[in-house]
């Protein structure tokens, strides 16, 4: 088994597994979480070692598994010099942070949660640097945004932690989305998301018309992640995180991810004017703003935060120079910044931990309380300032050299060395402030705790880092040179230029710039008091405030929009629906060149139809006019229904007329019952403008429906109905085509419709169950609820009406009628009995649970269909035969009649259940359990 075939995904995934293990083990032992994390980190490191020989030999290891090949997705991991360098930084500094955090966290802080988040973050970072597939890289990129959100908000009870975390998430999350866009474009240009392909296609990319948008999107990701101007403001607020988190995120990892991307995409994207202006410009601005602001921060971590921003700007600026030498300097400075900044954050954490304060106005003269820590802090700060014999000096020297050489190309570029020297001045000044203010400068003022040295293990990580600072600073060729070399080779994808890591290059311009920076920087520091006073007198552009203002504006806008559009009002929703229908359907018509009307000859108008139409029109208008008097409007709605049935009669559709008539009766009765519980009049609620809008919509809808109908009716019509007429008798066994359609040709529709009816009945039952409404008081005038004449009459009528129902039912298949109409007639009969005699009286005599009637109705209809399946036909296939009955004669028996019986039962059951429920509303208290 060759470890080198699959070790990379394990290196990346192990921290995630360790995260779960850490969270779980912390339940049993507080420290277990730290041990689990530490061991996992060491294993990950160990798994990288076997690959080291190959990498130092100049190879690139790629391990590939298919993920989704149609979309160009692979689980693909890559280890080359650059990835190796970053992995080592992530893992080694990670390990130190784990050791440090174990001592740093207080007893009340949850160890499990902390280490779980930290390990997830570590895994995400490893994923970024070791991804060969760019989409996979985006995945890990966003994971760092998410896990850093969790880490920054670790002390969740603190408002600044929550806000800082959300801000970081919003900014870096936005960058991640931009990266997704950029990578999709990049993949589109190159035809692959594999890094190897992308890196080999630099010229193709730079000459593509999509180059600029791709570049901008990717740089958005870089700038947000690496806290470049103007997105730098989230970083200082992320300092609300516990200090180990800051030490990790803001030295070697999170903020370096953006820089990593610059190094990674250097061969593919760099070298154009756009690159230089954007990357260089952002880098320069960030460098200066960071260095300047850092001097004025009283909070230790605040100073370090702005210093980090400034150093990130420095590295970005180097990449912006777009030369191979500059890349060497940039990568070198990445290493150096990671070491000294991690140690400084840890020192800040120690000071905070042991004194209870991070305010440099209070922290003074700590040298005598914590000399060891002071020594460490001084060395690391001097490295940050760029003092010789320390690593920071070497890379800063290279940086100055690059600034000088870049300035030679352009007559205005002389400004660049000047600006970077100014940044250097401030860098020296704030480094001095970190050292002098804290460890010298008199005695501490009002510290919450008496300062003392921290536990030994808290210092060990710092010791190690500071040793590295010294070793690299004094003996660069024997320490950092090999890994720097392979990292630069991997970043450039070519042999790096000849460069020298020597301490002494003779007296040259960069050395003079360094000297100026050191000298003037010291001067600035000792003149700091008036400078700080002056700084604090002025209002400063506070990007956080802008961010929050924009965010607040977005929230206000959202709320405004929601309140305006989604009002939770039915009328509003209905108006939008109708409006959309009108606009979209009308668009459909006008976008085609069809005549409005067809050429079919219209029937002549005759008086009966005209009267019917006039009555419908008048009734509709009256409904509108009387809509506040609910009873009246119900009556005129009834008129509309009646006329509709008459229209069916006129056009020889007796089945439809009968159905319409019975439906009309049942619904009006149910509506009357419902009205019993409602006020008699509707209050005025709508203003004139709403009325106007509604009137417009209503008129437009009316005209629209009219035109739409006319379009269809004025055209010639031929349809499949011929087939129904021809096959009704031979195929359906009935002469009433309407009924054969209902129970046979389209019996499945009917089954659906009776289910709808059943649902309506059951739904009304469920909705009204347990509900008690007092009828509106004005209805209680009539003391005689059940007039005797009506009672007697209805009891007499019941058998007659049921007989009619049976008659209508039986003849249905051949003559107008059928289960649906029969069911409605039977319902009307029962309803009359209920109404005239009262529900208790009727129920005591009609002891049938209407649920069961509905249930059996559905069962009969369905079983009729199933029976066909048993004999090898599709559901609902009908069969019919005729039998000879004595006396009666030949009688046809169709399976459809059973189906129709089901229909009949469901119609009766649903109508009656609805009526009984409504009728019982006011009686509920006596019978709380329902029917």
């Amino acid at each position: 088994m060759n470890l080198l075939a699959f070790n990379l995904p394990i290196v990346v995934l192990l921290p995630f597994i360790a995260a779960a293990a850490a969270a779980y083990s912390a339940k049993f032992n507080r420290l277990a979480a730290a041990w689990v994390s530490g061991i996992a980190t060491i294993i990950s490191l160990a798994l990288l070692i076997p690959a080291a020989a190959a990498i130092f030999g100049g190879e690139t290891i790629i391990q590939n598994w298919n993920w989704l090949h149609q979309a160009g997705l692979q689980f693909a991991f890559r280890l080359d010099g650059l990835a190796m360098l970053f992995s080592f930084l992530i893992l080694i500094i990670g390990l130190l942070v784990i050791i440090y955090a174990r001592w740093y966290l207080a007893a009340k802080d949850s160890m499990g949660r902390f280490f779980a988040y930290l390990m997830m973050f570590m895994g995400s970072m490893l994923g970024i640097v070791m991804s060969e597939n760019l989409i996979q890289l985006v995945v890990f990129w966003e994971l760092t945004s998410i896990t850093s959100f969790l880490l920054i908000s670790y002390w969740q009870h603190r408002k600044d932690a929550r806000e800082g975390a959300r801000m970081a998430l919003a900014i870096t999350g936005a960058g991640g989305l931009a990266l997704l866009g950029g990578v999709i474009l990049l993949g589109h240009i190159v035809g692959s998301y594999q890094l190897s392909d992308v890196l080999a296609s630099g010229d193709l990319i730079r000459n593509h018309e999509l180059y600029l948008p791709t570049l901008i999107l990717i740089l958005l990701a870089v700038f947000t992640k690496s806290a470049q101007f103007p997105f730098h403001f989230w970083l200082p607020h992320a300092m609300a995180a516990p200090t180990p988190v800051s030490a990790y995120l803001h030295s070697a990892t999170m903020v370096k991810a953006g820089i990593f991307l610059l190094a990674r995409f250097f061969p593919a994207l760099s070298g154009t004017d756009a690159w230089m202006w954007l990357v260089g410009g952002a880098g320069m601005a960030t460098l200066l703003i960071g260095a300047y602001t850092a001097l004025f921060k009283h909070d230790l971590k605040g100073l370090l935060a702005y210093s980090t921003i400034s150093h990130l700007g420095l590295i970005t600026l180097l990449f912006g120079f777009s030369s191979q030498f500059a890349t060497v300097a940039a990568i070198f400075h990445i290493i150096n910044h990671a070491t000294f900044k991690a140690s400084l954050f840890m020192v800040a954490g120690i000071i905070d931990h042991e004194t209870g304060s991070r305010d440099m106005r209070k922290l003074n003269g700590l040298l005598k309380y914590m000399p060891h820590t002071a020594a460490l802090a001084i060395i690391a700060s001097l490295a940050m300032a760029g003092v010789p014999l320390l690593n920071g000096f070497l890379s800063k020297e290279m940086f100055f050299a690059e600034a000088v050489s870049f300035s030679q190309g352009n007559s205005f570029a002389w400004i660049i060395p000047v600006l970077v020297t100014i940044a250097g001045v401030f860098s020296v000044a704030y480094s001095l402030r970190f050292v002098h203010d804290v460890f010298f400068n008199g005695e501490p003022i009002d510290l919450p705790r008496t300062p003392h040295e921290p536990p030994r293990f808290m210092k060990i990580p710092v010791d190690l880092l500071v040793i590295v600072c010294l070793a690299v600073g004094i003996l660069p060729m024997y320490t950092v040179a090999p890994i720097l070399d392979i990292a630069v080779t991997a970043s450039l994808q070519s042999t790096p230029p000849e460069y020298s890591l020597a301490l002494w290059h003779g007296v040259n311009l960069p050395l003079i710039m360094s000297a100026i920076a050191l000298g003037v920087g010291a001067l600035v520091y000792f003149r700091r008091k008036p400078l700080i006073a002056n700084y604090e007198r002025h209002e400063h552009i506070n990007a956080k405030q802008y961010f929050q203002k924009i965010l607040a504006a977005v929230i206000r806008f959202s709320e405004w929009l929601s309140a305006r559009f989604d009002k939770g009002s039915l009328q509003n929703a209905a108006a939008w629906t109708l409006f959309a229908t009108l606009v979209i359907s009308a668009y459909g018509f006008i976008s085609f060149n069809s005549p409005l009307l067809g050429d079919r000859t219209l029937l002549p108008m005759e008086p009966v139809s005209m009267i019917a139409a006039a009555v419908i029109i008048v009734a509709s208008i009256l409904t509108l006019a009387w809509h506040r008097q609910r009873l009246q409007s119900l009556i005129v709605i009834g008129v509309v229904g009646l006329i509709t049935s008459l229209v069916f009669v006129k056009f020889s559709a007796p089945d439809l007329a009968l159905t319409q008539l019975s439906v009309e009766v049942v619904t009006i009765v149910l509506l009357l019952l419902a009205l019993y519980f409602l006020p008699q009049t509707t209050p005025k609620e709508t203003g004139m403008s709403r009325l106007g809008r509604d009137a417009l919509l209503a008129i437009a809808s009316g005209i629209g429906v009219f035109l739409f109908t006319m379009m269809v009716l004025s055209r010639d019509f031929s349809s499949i109905s011929e087939y129904f007429l021809a096959n009704s008798v031979p195929g359906g066994g009935g002469t009433n085509v309407v009924n054969v359609i209902l129970v046979d040709f389209r019996g499945f529709d009917t089954l659906g419709e009776i289910i709808v009816l059943a649902l309506a009945g059951l739904g009304i039952y469920a909705m009204l169950q347990g509900l008690h409404i007092n009828p509106h008081s004005r209805f209680r005038i009539n003391a005689d609820a059940h007039p005797v004449i009506l009672q007697t009459f209805s009891r007499l009528m019941l058998p007659l009406m049921l007989l009619v129902a049976v008659f209508i039912f039986l003849r249905g298949h051949n003559l107008p009628g059928g289960g649906f109409i029969a069911g409605l007639i039977a319902s009307v009969a029962l309803i009359v009995v209920y109404l005239s005699n009262g529900i208790e009286w009727t129920q005591s005599r009609l002891r049938v649970d209407m649920h069961m009637v509905i249930g059996f109705g559905l069962l009969i209809a369905t079983t009729t269909g199933l029976a066909a399946m048993l004999v090898g036909y599709p559901f609902l296939t009908s069969a019919f035969s005729h039998i000879h009955w004595p006396v009666v004669g030949d009688f046809e028996l169709a399976s459809a009649i059973a189906f129709d019986l089901g229909v009949f039962l469901v119609v009766v059951g649903s109508s009656v259940i609805s009526l009984v429920q409504l009728g019982q509303l006011s009686h509920k208290p006596e019978n709380p359990e329902g029917v």
Binding site: L68, G173, S558, G568, H851
Partner: protein
């Protein structure tokens, strides 16, 4: 004669009827029946899916009448896919409802639930436009019943809006079907498609009007801007398992557009081809924007989840609006994600509501809930999935959709709106998560017991958590097994893009010979 296409319909229908008849047997019997029936339905759906993948579109002629005269069911890969998703979601929702005793809060829960499945599956399987209308009515009534289940002022109010707007939709559906029948003389979708392909120019305007009217109807179901106003309140106020089940309801609208407009106004439709596509894309983008703002403005978690549902449906609309085979496959992939994650999120929101006592799920400061770390972690998982953050399914789905949009003329609009709305959603979810789990009121000690009761956090009934785990795990499964799942969605998209097979199978289908039909001489 195979009954395969009919299985997903007849099973819940029989189950619904039996459960209704089992009413006197009490809730235990009804539950047993419901669970058994749903388990069988899941198994049957798997079988149906497998059958659909291996065969060309299968026809089932109800009543043994050939198309276009009778109603036919058509089982193709898309139908089977939708049916399978529905039954899996239903199983999770049902389990949660039973374990949480939601089903005892009112009458007929299980009947309504099964008939709801009958209605949804019917809509997915029918090949007849009017029958689709009937199934729309079935699922509307069943969903109305479920929506109101348990009662209460808010549910009733939201339910009224829901049913009223959907009834407007039904009316428009009838207008449109009537007009199509009036011009084309048929109701079978395949037949309609065939007739539209040969339509003379003089009739195109009418058919276009009807087609776009149908588009509005399906848009109401799919909750497309500006037709979605019924959704947020309805989903936010109903019981958790019902809201979870409703995650499929918007997809019925999406399916109907894919099926009906795909067949009737597909590439073969001449001048009418792609009639709805631009509307789909641009209204989808608008929906996404409005939904994202709605997510920010939401006043409580369930409302927020409802808007998240809107946003994910909008993503689907956009994807279908891109109108390529690749985009369609991506859309179907995203549809799986959208359905299950939204379902899981509604159930999770119910835990959170229970845990926060009197504050419920409102976005106000409250006391810490029990098991806050566990619930919070699950919330983060769900939030990542639904907002489209890596490494979960929402991200993969959005990536696939964006990738398929690369050659579209509106690419920059699509990219911009999708990414910006994702960002707004991330910000909103970070705010709400931070408020629900982090920004908690301190635990006050030593106060009077009665006082304690008022301010204390609630209890969470963790029964039914299997449903949440099952639904949300889809977020990871879709990423890990992206290849086999995408192969399926790809195959579906291919079949949809070649409707000739569908048309041919429907129109050339011959019924079984020789039924028992004897006539009187």
């Amino acid at each position: 004669m195979t009954h395969t296409p009919f299985l997903p319909l007849i099973l819940p229908l029989i189950a619904g009827i039996l459960i209704l008849l089992a009413k006197p047997g009490g809730i235990k019997l009804q539950r047993t029946l419901a669970i058994t029936a749903t388990a069988i339905l899941v198994a049957a759906s798997l079988y149906v899916m497998q059958s659909a993948l291996q065969n060309p579109p299968q026809i089932y002629a109800l009543g043994n009448w050939k198309a276009p005269f009778g109603i036919v069911l058509v089982l193709d890969q898309l139908s089977a896919f939708m049916v399978l998703i529905t039954s899996l979601l239903a199983a999770a929702a049902l389990w949660f409802a039973i374990r949480q005793n939601t089903d005892t809060e009112g009458a007929h829960f299980h009947v309504l639930f099964q008939i709801q499945l009958f209605g949804i599956n019917g809509a997915f399987l029918t090949g007849d436009l009017f029958n689709l209308f009937v199934f729309f009515e079935v699922l509307l009534l069943a969903s109305y019943g479920l929506l109101l289940h348990g009662g209460g002022r808010l549910k009733t109010r939201a339910g009224l809006h829901y049913v009223a707007i959907n009834l407007i939709g039904s009316t428009l559906f009838l207008f449109a079907v009537g007009a199509l029948y009036g011009i084309l003389g048929t109701l079978n979708m395949a037949d309609l498609a065939q007739k539209i392909a040969l339509l003379p120019a003089s009739e195109q305007g009418v058919v276009a009007t009807a087609g776009l009217m149908l588009f509005v109807v399906f848009g109401v179901k799919a909750a497309m801007f500006p037709l979605y106003l019924w959704l947020p309140q309805a989903y936010a106020n109903t019981s958790a398992p019902v809201a979870a089940l409703f995650a499929i309801m918007t997809k019925v609208g999406i399916y109907a557009i894919l099926r009906v407009h795909g067949l009737l106004f597909g590439d073969a439709a001449g001048d009418l081809a792609g009639l709805h596509i631009d509307w789909l894309l641009w209204l989808g983008l608008l929906s996404m924007t409005f939904a994202a703002f709605g997510v920010i403005a939401a006043k409580n978690l369930r409302q927020q989840v409802a808007y998240l549902v809107l946003a994910s449906v909008a993503t689907l609309l956009v994807a279908i609006g891109i109108n390529t085979e690749q985009a369609l496959s991506a859309a179907l992939f995203y549809l799986i994600h959208s359905t299950f994650i939204a379902g899981g999120l509604f159930l999770l929101a119910d835990y959170i509501r229970q845990g926060r006592g009197h504050a419920e799920d409102a976005f106000v400061r409250a006391h810490s809930m029990p098991s806050a770390i566990l619930i919070g972690s699950v919330f983060i998982f769900a939030a990542l999935a639904i907002s489209g953050m890596p490494p979960l399914s929402g991200f993969l789905g959005k990536f696939l959709i964006l990738q398929s949009a690369l050659d579209h003329p509106a690419f920059w609009w699509i990219l911009g709106v999708v990414l910006t709305s994702s960002l707004l959603i991330i910000i909103a979810l970070a705010r709400s998560g931070s408020l629900l789990f982090y920004n908690i009121l301190p635990q006050e000690e030593n106060h009077a017991p009665d006082n304690a009761q008022q301010t204390s956090s609630g209890k969470i009934n963790m029964q039914g958590c299997g449903s949440i785990i099952g639904l949300l795990s889809v977020g990871a499964i879709l990423v890990l097994f992206a290849q086999p799942i995408y192969n399926v969605t790809d195959s579906i998209a291919q079949q949809l893009n070649q409707p000739q097979m569908y048309l041919q199978n429907v129109l050339q289908f011959t019924p079984v010979e020789n039924a028992h039909k004897e006539l009187v001489e």
